[in-house]
Amino acid sequence: MTIVYDDRGDEVASEVPVRRIRFTINGERKVAEVEPRLLLSHLIRRGLGLTGTHMGCDTTNCGACTVLVDGRAVKSCTMLAVQADGHEISTVEGLATASELHPLQEGFSDEHGLQCGFCTPGMMMAAKALLDSNPDPTEEEVRWALSGNLCRCTGYQNIVKSVLWAADKLRSQS
């Protein structure tokens, strides 16, 4: 895998230190050579072409870039790609199967949990981490779990409904 870096002129290309990392993303094993300062979000978007993970604020506030690392929700703009070495990453692209949407995706569709959709991947990944550990959350618990994710459109009402919808569906499936 090749990642192209900006040529800043002041930095000599041969001095770029590169490290080899191995990780799993959405169940697929990967090897990558990354510069230590590469952020996980950039590895996902630019290196792997998985642009479902959005970069919103780039300052650890908005949560649009949320992915799961070993099942825990993490803001991928605030973790170095080299730190993914040996770990499992899940992104929004890993939710659906070839034929079926994930209940969270269905829920966001059915309950109108998105307007512009920019925050949605981060919302869904944070919600996935919640439902994996707590399959029957209260509305309050959903709001608490999503309090690190910002949405500028919806006012959150329908996002919370979407997650509760998905929780219901997942419970009825199991």
């Binding site: 930095e11 001095e15 770029v16 230190p17 490290r19 510069e35 230590p36 300062r37 590469l38 952020l39 950039h42 780039d58 300052t59 650890t60 506030n61 949560g63 949320t66 825990r72 929700a73 993490v74 803001k75 703009c77 605030t78 973790m79 170095l80 080299v82 730190q83 070495d85 944070a126 608490w144 779990a145 309090s147 690190g148 994710n149």
Partner: protein, 291 residues
């Protein structure tokens, strides 16, 4: 945004990590949760030449109580671990109160208590909690370990007493000599914001008598404010309404808030007073009172 270029090492032993820091000198930084350091590096407020990532060091993710009740929190114990801790819920009301109020839930999954103490943000919540509880930080360096009281650990905004080749490996809360009570309250404009005002109260009582008290304030001074006089007003007798009022007044007096976009100095001082009364009101079982 991305950080300026650095060398990255992720050692598997503490000795190795210390040796790397020794080589790196002033230009090396320890990376634990990274929830403060990585943003600072992206903004280029910090441009370390060497990053020593301690996430691969074994056995630092713990928080546990010694048989005598001393609480120990390892350098890789995440805020989220503390938030979900049954041990803290049962034995550490001030810490259990603060844990869910640190940053936001996603940041809490990676950020660490020890890292946030080292970061020494004057607005940090854990520093107040540690001060109120009389806690300390254990540092490991080439010459062994030393224990630094929290009151001496921070020397200024974003500055601590660690030598360049030392790693903070543990935070320690001493055992309570009596029954522990207290709490942490934080006023924030929205989840994840720094505290407009934060108040930590930690108390120990033997029978009816308060034997030890600590009060510390977040966000109302250039650094964490230890309100020693206010805490002193609680000690030596039972927790009465008069003592609570006196402590609340003294805590508000100890605050040095500034008027800013989060509120006026007067408002913040008022909140300090209110929070002290609220925390202590819960403790002595009386209804919440307005200040």
């Amino acid at each position: 945004m991305y950080p300026s270029r650095f060398r990255y090492e992720a050692p598997h032993s503490l000795d190795e990590a210390i040796a790397l820091l020794r080589d790196g000198g002033d230009y090396a930084k320890v990376l634990a949760g990274g929830q403060s350091l990585v943003p600072l590096m992206k903004l280029r407020f910090a441009s370390p030449e060497l990053i020593v990532d301690i996430n691969n060091l074994p056995g630092l993710g713990y928080h546990r109580a010694d048989p005598d009740g001393t609480l120990r929190i390892g350098a890789l114990c995440r805020h989220a671990d503390l938030e979900r801790s049954a041990l803290l819920q049962a034995t550490q009301p001030t810490m259990a109160g603060a844990a869910p109020l640190i940053a936001d839930p996603i940041v809490r999954n990676r950020g660490t208590l020890v890292g946030s103490l080292c970061h020494a943000d004057p607005q940090g919540d854990w520093a107040s909690v540690m001060l109120a509880l009389g806690g300390s930080v254990v540092a490991a360096g080439p010459g062994g370990r030393r224990t630094i009281p929290m009151a001496d650990f921070v020397t200024g905004p974003f500055q601590n007493v660690l030598e360049p080749d030392e790693i903070a490996v543990e935070a320690v809360i001493p055992a309570a000599k009596g029954a522990r009570s207290g709490g942490y309250l934080k006023l924030e404009r929205r989840v994840g914001d720094f505290a407009t005002v934060g108040v930590a109260v930690a108390m120990e009582t033997s029978g009816e008598t308060v034997t030890r008290a600590g009060i510390a304030l977040t966000g109302v001074g250039g650094s964490t404010v230890a309100a020693a006089e206010a805490a002193g007003a609680l000690v030596g007798g039972p927790l009465t309404a008069e003592r609570i009022e006196r402590a609340a007044d003294l805590a508000a007096g100890a605050a040095r808030p500034r008027t800013d976009h989060r509120g006026s100095a007067e408002y913040k001082r008022h909140i300090v007073r209110t929070f002290v009364v609220r925390i202590l009101g819960r403790v002595d079982g009386t209804a919440e009172r307005a200040a």
